[in-house]
Amino acid sequence: MSRSRPEGMSDATSAAPADPMVLPDGGAPYGSPRARTWRAFRRNPLGTVSVAMLALLVLVAVFAPLIADYPSGYGTEVLSGPSAQHWFGTDNLGRDIFAQVVWGTRTSMVVGLGAAGLAIVLGVAVGVSGAYFKRLDTPLGMLVDLMLSLPVLPLMILVAALAGPSVSTLVVVIAAFSWPEVARVVRSQAMPVVTLSYVDAAHVIGGSNRWVLFRHVLPAVSPVITVSVVLTASRAVLSEAGLSFLGLGDPSSWSWGAILHNAQRSGALSSSWWTAFFPSLAILLLVVAATLCALAYNDARNPRTRQDDHR
């Protein structure tokens, strides 16, 4: 679940209609690079729609208690289809699925962001040190290669089952097996940066390794990190859903995967489509929005693919 496919990603990025860099009547793009990226991003409907979608999901997660009551207790209407009273229908115990999806958003967001945050810190640390300290490159590279060639989901299952299901277990487990992908991407971006002459110059004026790393190397790879955060978070959501679907979710909180797990285990899956459809839709919306958002950001950042406005 957690493996990114950079070939596909980078390709879809570069394949956006390329602006041949012909500036009309000599006008130059204005503003700082960051401002130009942001302007290009806002003009891309894919980017704005996906950001709006992500923002909506975050709002749902934050304000879950205001939107729906916590789904607990048993209802009388068992497995009733979507209606005015139960927008998304009810499950095999008569609990409202709309409420489950709303509260599930919270768990999925917490696990996704938590795991992504941890994985990014680890992955960036390993990736940048691999590129910067030549002596560490071989052992770290080998570790990353080894981790990447293991079937990750079965490993996560084993660890989650051992450590006992809880939200914090999920966060740690998913992060522990997601960082190698981040490390790989960050390392490949940091490699050319550390050979640039401004990094040498920073050394020459007597900068410490720490200062050079934080002041000069990290900012240069920060765009990759931004994209990584979004992609890693969406993969973490998928991993969480997968583990919960297999029954390894936090039993005390709802999540999208857990709703599917209930539907599968109770057999409601084959008779009542709504028990599977709405949580699935939520997962799909979040992950597609995150992926498109990352793509749009990549496009907006790349001067060759974005269309600068000129004055």
Binding site: M1, R3, R5, E7, G8, D11, A12, A15, P17, L146, L148, S149, L150, P151, V152, L153, P154, L155, I157, L158, V159, A161, L162, A163, G164, S234, L238, A241, G242, F245, L246, G247, L248, L260, Q264, L269, S270, W273, A276, S280, I283, L284, V287, V288, A290, T291, L292, L295
Partner: protein, 320 residues
């Protein structure tokens, strides 16, 4: 000779990966808070019974000794005894392995059969309608949640149209040729879920590599000689574009195996993934651990075979 050297280096790498997988799981299982002994010990056991049981499973020895013993047993093909079924883990899993191999193998072959023409079509019509569809499909396909795909297929073709069975791997009352038909019919939906899951990565990679290859000098030479564009694409460019695409197989294998765990759960397919799902419910750690080791070994072997094929196809690889 170069191929021998290349082969032994790859073999060494495979063994290293396997050792890493085994070691990581061993120490995870022993050092994590969930005490496997507690999982088997029932609360009614006396201290003596518990101690005897720990001794039976060899859980009372020093950690390092346990590790050496575990490795020694593993080399002899002993993955331990299942906590719940009182049966050797290897026996339980070997019964399941052929199903998983068939599922993932056919998914991989189908992916390549469907993906190849799609990638070629997208690359040769760069910027066209097919290309746009392939690109959007590739991105969305990579964001799919495996159970969602499985459930959707199950609803559409299993419950809705009734074309294919919704679970299991074979009907119980068929023999001979009919048994093969039944197996194939049961295989369609789970395999298709896995195809949909991974085909995007293959098509997008092939597309990029083919577009690059078509821009190379040798393709221009072929065109200048008067070869048809068809010959240039299929005979010259595709051969070179396929090589880097083969490496993707290795990268995707772990992912495919993970997908199989979820797919087998949805379709009640009696493979290793389903065994993992069942052992999670029963907290049967030896089975979970053994299943992971066996899946890792499968990935390592498949990776080795891919590398060797790559080495045979592309002389540049084995020389460097």
């Amino acid at each position: 000779m170069a191929i021998l050297r290349f082969g032994s280096l790859r073999l060494l790498r495979g063994l290293l990966t396997l050792w890493f997988a085994v070691t990581v799981t061993f120490f995870l299982v022993r050092l994590l808070p969930g005490d496997p002994a507690l999982a088997v010990a029932s609360p009614t056991m006396t201290a003596d019974q518990r101690a005897k049981m720990l001794a039976d499973f060899g859980l009372d020895e020093p950690l390092l000794l346990q590790y050496v013993n575990y490795l020694a047993q593993l080399v002899q093909g002993n993955l331990g005894i299942s906590f719940r079924q009182s049966q050797p883990v290897l026996d339980i899993l070997l019964e399941r392995l052929p199903w998983t191999l068939m599922l993932t193998g056919s998914a991989l072959v189908l992916t390549l059969i469907i993906g190849l023409p799609l990638g070629v079509a997208a690359a040769t019509h760069k910027g066209g309608t097919i290309d746009r569809i392939v690109q959007i499909g590739g991105v969305v396909g990579q964001s799919l949640f495996v159970p969602t795909v499985g459930i959707a297929l199950l609803y559409a073709f299993g419950l809705g149209l009734g074309w294919f069975p919704i679970g299991g791997a074979i009907d119980s009352d068929v023999y001979g040729f009919e048994a093969y038909i039944s197996m194939a019919r049961h295989l369609v939906l789970p395999a298709l879920s896995l195809v949909l899951l991974q085909i995007g990565a293959y098509v997008l990679t092939l597309r990029t590599n083919l577009i690059d290859a078509l821009g190379e000098e040798y393709c221009n030479v072929a065109r200048a000689k008067g070869s048809s564009e068809r010959t240039v694409v299929w005979k010259h460019a595709l051969r070179n574009a396929l090589l880097p695409t083969t490496t993707l197989v290795g990268l995707q294998l772990g992912f495919l195996v993970g997908g199989a765990v979820l797919t087998e759960t949805i379709f009640a397919y009696p493979g290793i993934g389903r065994a993992i799902y069942e052992s999670v419910g029963q907290l049967d750690f030896p089975v979970m651990q053994g299943a992971f080791v066996l899946l890792a070994a499968t990935v390592v072997v498949a990776n080795f075979l891919t590398d060797m094929a790559y080495g045979f196809l592309d002389p540049r690889v084995r020389v460097s």
